[in-house]
């Protein structure tokens, strides 16, 4: 019977990958994304050409309250130590993004404010592109709080808009200068630099490194995302194929040649392989950003392998459920609707993401890990946090594997009976009877 599973798998694979829709999706998607990125790059660089960042903004102070230290750069805020690493990574990414990234970099570096006596001289400097923006502080500023901004560009990333946060800091510093002590000024600007502690596996209070958590979670979250995409696309293809076979009545011939379980498994394997090939094509065509990301993300081979194991089991489990329930429908539309139910169930654990990340070994996370429906996504997240015990990983993989075998068995019975019923919607009692029938 194994041979027939392979024959079905091979046919499903070839007929899927030769479909126009699949080819367009597989090769068109990276091209589309590439074109899109190119467009952004083009727009970014054309903006940058017209509006080369000067890093400077002019201030015309009619109110006589602004205090400017010549040559000092005012940033958007003090960066906390633990975020600096992440910022460094962001700056690196921004640099590689070309001229558009320059703007982001400029934002991180800060703005130098230059004083002008009147609007005319300031605007003249603006048109000579010595400065990127002009701010006019009127006489009645203290009562009204109004400031006028002259911006060289209308772009969303213009220097005028970029300099607004630094201007706020400059004005707060100036307003408070003669009234409060300098260290209070800093505290008004940054009232709380929070260090967050939580209990680890051994019950000690430790600081959670946000940047590190984000890097370690990259792989599991990536797999969760891929899992949902794969399940949704494969189940769509699967249900389309099965409903065609049912509507065409080919299924009668097929079931007289191969048993329902081999047929179901063969279809899942074939479509799964087509899905993996699609992923491989996407990844290889998008090689550059992947290498960049890999440098930033902590890519542990163990994590990747474990996630891959959960991914494959989850794909088979959900694929089986979606196909079996989908086969009850009398036409493709019905089938899609029944199948959709499971796709939503697969995404369910995302609701608990906060609970799982804050307490990877808490009761909720553990319970969800042992329920096959939520196990794959929850376990991938827990593995990402680096705190899932090895025995739980082994046990949940085993539970999932056993569930796949059992589900396949019952699903095959349902699939076989459902496929031979034409145009009749079964009752729930009938469905259970079909699953019991040998």
């Amino acid at each position: 019977m194994k041979g027939k599973t392979l024959i079905v798998a091979r046919r499903e694979f070839t007929s899927t990958v030769l479909r126009v829709g699949w080819l367009v999706g597989t090769f068109g998607m990276p091209i589309f994304v590439g074109l899109y990125a190119g467009l952004i790059f083009f727009v970014g660089s054309s903006v940058a050409k017209h509006d080369k960042p000067t890093g400077k903004a002019g201030v015309v102070d009619h109110a006589g309250i602004v205090r400017i230290a010549p040559g000092e750069k005012v940033t958007i805020g003090t960066v906390p130590e633990r975020a600096r690493k992440a910022m460094g990574f962001a700056t690196k990414m921004a640099e590689s993004a070309g001229p558009a990234g320059e703007m982001v970099k400029g934002m991180l570096v800060g703005t130098e404010f230059v004083r002008f006596a009147d609007e005319e001289s300031a605007l003249a400097a603006l048109s000579r592109k010595e400065i990127g923006a002009v701010f006019v502080v009127p006489e009645d500023y203290v009562t009204t709080g109004k400031v006028t901004s002259y911006d060289a560009s209308t772009s969303l990333l213009s220097e005028g808009k970029q300099s607004r946060l630094p201007l706020r800091r400059l004005l707060v510093q100036s307003l408070l200068h003669d009234h409060v002590e300098p260290q209070f000024v800093e505290r008004v600007l940054e009232p709380a630099d929070v260090q967050s502690l939580s209990k680890d596996r051994d019950g000690r209070w430790v600081e959670r490194d946000l940047a590190d958590a984000v890097r370690r979670l990259g792989v599991p979250l990536g797999f969760t995302f891929l899992l949902m995409i794969s399940i949704l696309t494969a189940s769509g293809t699967m249900i389309q194929g099965v409903s065609e076979e049912k509507e065409n009545r080919v299924i009668e011939v097929i079931l007289s040649s191969v048993d329902a379980r081999s047929l179901l498994l063969g279809k899942l394997l074939g479509l799964g392989a087509a899905g993996l090939l699609q992923l491989a094509v996407w990844l290889s065509m998008a090689l550059v950003p992947v290498v960049l990301l890999a440098a930033g993300l902590a890519l542990s081979p163990v994590t990747v392998l474990l996630c891959l194991a959960y991914f494959v089991l989850a794909f088979l489990f959900y694929g089986t459920l979606i196909t079996a329930t989908g086969s009850i429908g009398t036409n493709a539309k019905d089938m899609q609707q029944y199948g959709m139910f499971w796709a939503i169930a697969c995404a369910l654990p995302m609701i608990f993401i906060e609970v799982i990340l804050s307490e990877p070994n808490g009761t909720a996370a553990r319970v969800l890990s042992y329920i096959p429906l939520t196990s794959p996504v929850v376990m991938m997240m827990r593995i990402g946090t680096g705190e899932a015990p090895a025995w739980e990983i082994a046990l949940t993989l085993l539970i999932l594997a056993v569930t796949v075998v059992v589900t396949l068995r019952f699903a095959a019975r349902l699939f076989r009976t459902a496929l031979l019923m034409y145009g009749k919607r079964p009752s729930l009692a009938e469905i259970f009877r079909w699953m019991r029938q040998a």
Binding site: G3, I7, S15, R249, I251, L255, L420, Y422, R433, A438
Partner: protein
Amino acid sequence: MPQLLVEDTVKAYDGKVAVDHVSFEVKGGEVFGLLGPNGAGKSTLIRMTMDILRPDSGRILLDGLPSTNANHDRIGYLPEERGLYRKYKVLDVLDYFGRLKGMKGSDVKRKAQAALDEVGLGEWAKKRVDALSKGMQQKVQIVGTLLHDPDIVILDEPFSGLDPINSRLVKDMIASLKRAGKLVVLSTHQMDQVEELCDRIVMIDRGKRVLYGTVREIKKRYAPELRKASGRGNVVLVDGEGDFTKLEGVLDARPAGPATALTLAPDLTPEAFLSRAIAAGLSISHFEASPTTLEEIFVHVATVDAAAAAS
């Protein structure tokens, strides 16, 4: 030679009995008719033979062994509901069907092409299925059924949708399968085809076996009952000179083509009528004892059965 044994088989869906203690036996080298009105349980029986469904009780044995998945490759099945992948090329569909039946290697397509040539569809091999007419698709389906050279062939209404020329083609094919010692099960409503092709038949009605045996035996057995049921005797066709209606024992006469159909009294056999006519000096150019047809028996049994079920 293959042998199929259905032994006291029962299958119920949702408490409704579809097949009710049915037994019969089929051997290689014979064409066996599986008859019955719509919904009688024929499809269920066929599906159980192929292990698509399992009986609730009783056994189905192939060559003395329970029918399992392993037998799939030995069986060629032409379902009543025809089905092909409409968007694929004819040859690719046949290749897939052949491989699912255990054919291997590169010669699957070669054999499929040869089989298509044989039924006159050689040039259509590379065309998409939906470019073919209904009759051509029907032939492709039959090619697919026989491609892997099965020893057991189950044909469900093989003549539906075929013109007389293609019907002849299928009849010749059934005859050659029989000669090759294959076991052929033919399920059909067309009684004239059954009389022409089948050696033995089983008739199922409301899940129960109501007729079983050779066509000749069944006719012989049911002729008197049918006569009794109609309250009349034999019917003979005669053509000749003279007034046949005047003869003793002739109850009724009506024209039937160039001849006349005469209904005889219940106790008068066709042979007795013939000698009486000769004795009376009538000249006879054509005489035919019009026998009971399988169709009459089929209708009779189905109606009697329905009446019994109703009461």
